[in-house]
Each structure stands twice: as C-alpha cells, then as structure tokens.
C-alpha cells in the first residue's frame, strides 16, 4: 500500500486521503490536490449559491426582459395578444415624460455622488489616516449614517426638511426669512435636498472603504516620499493615490451602483414624483402598484439593467485582466 500512499503524497488532507483516493493507477497523468470529499464539498458550496442565484436573480432578470416586450398586467395568464414587441420601448422613448425626468435625475444623482460625495469621503479618510486624537470617535460619527437603513435616513431628513415643523425652516424663520424654501414640495430643489440626505450616508461609506485602503499602503513609500522632501499633499497626490488604484476602482464601482440603485430616499419622501422621479421609482410605480403595468415597468427595468451593465462590465473586465497578469 506504499504505492498508493506515494501517489497521494501531495494531498494535504492526510491519512484519510489514502482511503478516499482508493487504488489509483500508478501512471496517472496529473495529481489532484483535492480529495473526492473536497470536491463534493466545493461542488456544494459553489453549486447551491449558483443554483439560488440562477433561480432568484437570473431567472427573474430574463423573465423581466421577456415581459418588457409584452403588455401583461399580471392578472390573467400571459397570452399571445399581450405581445407588443418594441412598443413599450417606443412609448418610453417618445411619449412617457417621466422617463426622461428619471434619466436626468439618475444622471444628476450619479454626478453628485461621484464628484462631490465620494471626494468628501476620500478627504475625510485621508484626514483620519493621520491618527490624530479622537480619530476613532470621528470615524464612528461619520460611519453612523451608513448603519441606518435608507428608510430611516429618509425619515430623519423628513423631520429636518419639513416646512412647518422641521429644524432647518424653523431656524431660517428665526433669522427672519418669512417663507423659507419648501424643500420637498418645490421640484427645483427637492432633488438636491434628497441628494444631501443620500450624500450624508454615502460619505461615511466611502470614508470607511478608503480608510481601509489607506491603512494598507506600505509605510515605506511614505517615508521615501518624506525623505525626498514631499509634504503631505504632494505625498498623497503623487504617491499614495496611484498606489491605491485598486481601491479607487472599487470606489468608482460602488458609487455607480449606489447612484443607479437610488430609490429608498426618493420613495420615502413622496413616492418618486414632482421632481424626484428616478428610474427605480418609475419601475415601482408602474409594476409593483395598483396600476400593475408589469410589461411597461419591465421595459424601464431593462433600460436600467442595460445602463447598470456598463460599470459592472468595466469593473469585471478590469479585475479579470489583473488576475491574468
């Protein structure tokens, strides 16, 4: 039996492996590092989530794509008469005014998160990286909003922004402004009000991600820069930022996803209307409501899916390219 043991010598699973590997022929072309039990375990660990993923994510996604070509209202069964081909998309493009409002607002949401909220988060992370006194307290304070669900965030900011009872307008009235802005009712400013609430949360999230990345930067790089005579800002801009490229990619993707996913705050405020239309609220108001225009809502969902694929595919190709290198 020494022959069998030699054959399975590279196996790290130990003595039981000999029995599991059974009587393998001597001239096997490759060694398998994994025993059969390992393979079964791995199969289950990958297979079950994959199976659930196919059923709960891929299945409905493909069903949505198919439904977007129909006019199904969810009540009777799907029949051939419901098929409209590209009719929903044509309607979306040309005659559904809230759609373009939603696209515009989603784009604004993305721009604000990407170019205002994320840099602020990164800036806080850089400041906190200096390990000043009380940095733990500041971290907790900035990270608190992230822990809250977006529904709670919406509720908190509703209390702040309320016209009659909110803190902000009460303070403004105290300063003599007799008709302070109607933060939620005025369509020209309510998106910005919602964005402040969303950024409040997003800043903490980015800060923690970036701080983790900063902590992993090799200190010898900073020392080298210091020796070369660089001050803090120069060290960051010329050395640290470039070393953190993988983290930067993560942050860009996270921000894009958060911007496309924007829903909760707008929905909590006023169900996504009057200046707070977003693609996600349009989907909800069309499909998952009494209106039950499931075909039409699915068309909007497919549009959102297509837009979302851009950052996701970019991210994945970059990751896979790095792995191959």
């Amino acid at each position: 039996m020494t022959q069998a043991r030699e054959d399975t010598a590279p196996d790290r699973a130990g003595l039981t492996a000999g029995r599991a590997g059974a009587v393998a022929p001597r001239r096997r072309r490759h060694y398998s590092v994994l025993t059969r039990r390992d393979k079964i375990l791995l199969g289950l660990m990958v297979g079950i989530p994959l199976f659930l993923d196919l059923i709960f994510i891929w299945g409905p996604a493909i069903a949505s794509v198919i439904l977007s070509f129909t006019q199904w209202n969810g009540i009777h069964g799907l029949t051939a008469t419901d098929w409209v081909g590209l009719g929903n998309y044509e309607k979306l493009w040309s005659s559904y005014a809230p759609f373009w409002e939603g696209v515009k607002h989603n784009v604004l949401w993305f721009l604000v998160l990407m170019f205002i909220a994320t840099p602020i988060g990164m800036f806080f992370a850089i400041l906190l990286d200096r390990e000043m006194r009380g940095s733990r307290i500041y971290q907790t304070i900035f990270y608190m909003p992230v822990v809250l669900s977006l529904a709670i965030v919406g509720l908190i900011w509703q209390l702040q922004y309320s016209q009659d009872n909110g803190m902000i307008d009460s303070i403004l009235r105290g300063f003599g402004w007799s008709t302070p802005p109607d933060w939620f009712g005025d369509p020209s400013i309510n998106l910005w009000a919602a964005l402040v609430a969303a950024s409040w949360r997003h800043v903490g999230y980015i800060m923690v991600l970036y701080l983790a990345g900063l902590k992993s930067v090799d200190p010898s790089l900073r020392e080298a820069a210091a020796i070369d005579g660089a001050n803090g800002t120069q060290t960051y801009l010329h050395v640290v930022f470039w070393v953190m490229m993988p983290i930067n990619t993560v942050i860009v993707v996270v921000t894009s996803i958060e911007a496309l996913r924007a829903f909760d705050i707008a929905y909590i405020i006023n169900h996504g209307k009057n200046g707070l239309e977003l693609l996600s609220t349009l989907i909800t108001n069309n499909s998952i409501s009494e209106a039950s225009l499931i075909g039409f809502g699915s068309a909007i969902a497919v549009v959102l899916l297509t837009i979302s694929l851009v950052p996701i595919v970019t991210f994945l190709t970059r990751i896979m390219r790095e792995e191959r290198e």
Binding site: G74, A97, P98, A151, Q163, D186, K273, N286
Partner: protein, 471 residues
Amino acid sequence: MNDQVTRREVLKKGLIGAAGLTVLPTVIAACSSSSATATPTMAPVATQAPVATQAPVATPGATTAPALSGAVTFGSNFSDPVPKKAMADMMAQFAKENPTITVTMNTVDHGTFQDQITSYLGGKPDDVFCWFSGFRMRFFAGQGLAVAIDDVWTTLSPHFSDAFKVGSTGDDGHQYFVPIYNYPWAVFYRPSLFTAKGYKVPATLSDLTALCTQMQKDNIIPFAFGDKDGWEAMGTFDILNLRMNGYQFHVDLMAGKNKWTDPKVLAVFNQWKALMPFHQTGGAGRTWEDAAQALVKKTAGMMLLGMFISASFQAVDAATLADLDFFPYPTFGTAYDAEMALDAPIDGFMIASKSAAGVAGSNDLALAKALISWLGSGEAEVIYVTEDQGNVAASKDADTSGYNPLQKKAATLIGAAQKITQFMDRDTRPDFAGANGMQNFILKFVGNPSQDLSALLTQIQAFYDGLPPMS
C-alpha cells in the same frame, strides 16, 4: 491583559444592545406618520376572534343556515389605530353571534394593501377582503378576481339606498361589493373662529371669495392646504368640476370619454387658479395631517377634505372635536347646483375568486357570504362608525342615534345629494390617477398655477392616450 475583550463583556454589551434594538421599532413607529403616508412595510398580523360557546343568535343579514361552521380568512387594510380597533370589535361581535365560525383577520398597512392589491388578488388572497367602490371595484370584478354576490344582495337590497347598490354593481350588472360606510368631502371649519371673527358660512362662490378676502385681511389663511401625497388636491378638482360642468361630464371625463383638453376642463383649472392665492403656500410639500394642524391651531380658516379630518381633532380632545363643523362646497349658480353633487367615497368588502371561497358551492364560500352579509348589516356598521367617527354607516338600518353631530350632518348631506362620485383616484384608472400620472400633474399645477394651463392639459391628455388598453 486588561484590554482583551472578555466573553463576559461581549455578552453583557450584546444583551444591552439587543434590548435597545427591541425598543427602537416602537420609537420609530411613534415618530413616523400614519395611514397613506406610512413607510411601505408589509406587516400582516393574524388575529383570531375568540370562539364563544353559546348557541348562534340569528341576526339581520346573517345567512339562514345555523349549521355553518368552519374558518374564514379576512384581509383588512384598517391599519391605523382607531379603525383597527373598531374592526377588531366588529370581529368580536361576529364571533359572539356566530360561535361556530372562526374568522382569521390579517391586517396590512393601508397604503401597502392598495399598492399590492393586484399581486394579492392574483395570488393567494383572503376569502373576504376590504376594498373601495368605484372604478377600482369594477375593474377587479371585470377581471374575474371577485365573486358575484347577487344572492347576498337579494337579502341586503331593502337595507341600502339605490346609490349604494349602483356603487356595488360591476359592469356586467352583477353585485360584487358590500358597503360598510362612506364619508363626504366638504369644507371643514371651526365655528368658534367664525363666531369670533364674525364670518358667515358662504353659500355661493361670490360669498366664498368675499370670505377668503376678509380672512386674509384678518391674517388668517383662508384654506389650509396639503398635497404631498398627491391625492388630496384631487378633491378640489372633483368638486369644482362637479359644480361647473355637472356630474355627467365629470363621470365621462373620469372614464376617458371626455377629453382633458376640453375647454370646460380648462375653465375648471382657471377657476382653481383664481382660488389658489387663498390656499396655504407650499402645499406640494405638506401632508394633509400637517395642514389640518393649521385648522386645529386656528391659523387657517377652512379646509376642503374628507370627514376623516375629524381624527386630527379627536386626537386633541373632545372639546376640539365638538368645535369642528362643515358646509358643502358653495354653489356656482349653474344648472348643476340642483344635483348637490359631492365626493362620498364608499368603503366595503368583496369576496376574492382566487381564495378558498372562490370555489362555487364550497363551505368556504358559504362562510364568506355569511361574513360579508353580516358586515353589511346595520348592527355591524354601527359598531364601526361609533368608534371611527369620521364615517357614516351605509345601511339604512344603522342606528343613527349614537352619531355625533358631525356624523348626523354628514348623513343628511349625503342623503340629500342627488349625485355622488367616488373621488378621482377611485373613479378612474389607477395607472392614470397614480404617482406618475394625475398626482404628478396636479402637483405641477399646484406648484405653479400661473403656467400655461392648455399645455398642461395637453400633456395630461397625451398621458392618458399613451396608457395601454385596459384588458
């Protein structure tokens, strides 16, 4: 050694944290607003009505078979505290009178129930469920999601006026709905404020305009106004259209037979624009509850709303509720004044086809019919409206001696109306009246009444035309 976290510390802190977390939901529930504006959370609560051991007592409206026994499920959207308790009391009374029938009531948040109605009725609904009259009812009846209850109506017919029977009939002529109560939309005011300032209740439009101008001089906001949820302002449109163009034009407009670009509709919007300066500013960002507070605090003089506004007054104290009165919207001197039309939405119950009760001839169907006809009886309705005083019972048999003055006046007003409508979001397609439809258009108008109204109406008509056919 001392800065290592010990197991005991983790357990201690974890337990305190968990205890804190259990308190949090009640704090949040206390902070959040109620009813239609509540955060959309699905919280079905099953409550079992107690089964008494006495023999069943025959009540007007209960079916005649005393041997009926079994379980029936009831889906309720009466989620606010006062309606929820009133409904629970009704169920308790039903259980007392029908000890062999067990009712399991599932209460879902009011707004969520409506939003999810399609998947609810198409999936596994309860046997009996709460719903509204109007297009909303006829639509689901037409889709085959409700069971026709003509036989229940043969017993109930003498107890309801014609208006209620019409409101319970589907497009195919069969009855699908049993009403419990309705409530009027009228202009509410506080008599003490009117007496103090020497105001008189306006009877005509010119009286109303004069009164509003006077109120503004006295630094009182004439009309409290909140339209954040989008549906509140529909009441104003409805009543103006009813007064200016009559019931038939309004109903045809809701059904899509008249166009929104019709000059008559433009006239309504222009009239509304003329009245807007008398309304509280910032209405687009204010809920009706906050607007009602202006009426409670006497910073506003009047508010056009449904009788459910009495809940805001009841919440303060009985004296405040006693100081609440209403008058019907003033007449405009048109031919339609005689109709005395108003919005008086009817709430009630239906039997779901896809539930166990949907199987013809089954015991579940018999039980559901027993429950639904009992719910339509005067005795049952009185239990409800005694506690939830913002409504008036639908049945003619209901004992009105327990009504508060507001309810008595409402019953008279509704009784005297020749024509009753159900309110815009119940009279027309939900996708048209919904968040990205009329709610949004009306909010746009309210935000800027001086915009080009013809252009807005063209947009509304284009939106209506773009909706898919109601299959």
